[in-house]
Subunit: 91 residues, 2 copies
């Protein structure tokens, strides 16, 4: 498996682990999204001054309005975080 | 570093390695994109029946029309490949 395939594999497994916790196994509900952010992107929530950050993010990501974040909505989050991070840390 | 942060780190480093080969160090030109696809996503090119796949992909990804794929354009490709892959292998 190439480096890029490894990274994509980790992303898929990470999503599945949190999405599988309760309810629909293929999507993240708000509680699952919050758990994922707390465990996987602690600096993302810590740096936010807004206590409703998770609610706001849920609304932004949930493009089809079903109160669940599916895999394609999840990768939008990952892409946004990566772009912000990559832009800042690039020399 | 969490699992998700590790995956994002690998994605960033993978992009930088190929983007840094020639010309603008922060973007992939067509030759760099082709090398990256051949090394990192061999099944992506192999499964395509279209010999112009790389040219077509370049045009699709290059949203601002400068003939270079920047990091935000690269993550769109990763997201698309991941969604296709995840959708197919999901049980």
């Amino acid at each position: 498996m190439s480096q890029l395939e490894t990274a994509m594999d980790i992303l898929g497994k990470t999503f599945d682990r949190y999405a599988g916790a309760e309810g629909n196994k293929g999507t993240l509900n708000k509680a699952e999204l919050k758990t994922m952010l707390e465990k996987e992107l602690p600096s993302f929530l810590k740096n936010s001054k807004n206590p409703d950050q998770c609610d706001k993010l849920m609304k932004t990501l949930d493009q089809n309005g079903d109160s669940e974040v599916d895999f394609s909505e999840f990768v939008v989050l990952v892409a946004a975080v990566m772009c912000a991070h990559h832009g800042r840390t690039k020399k």
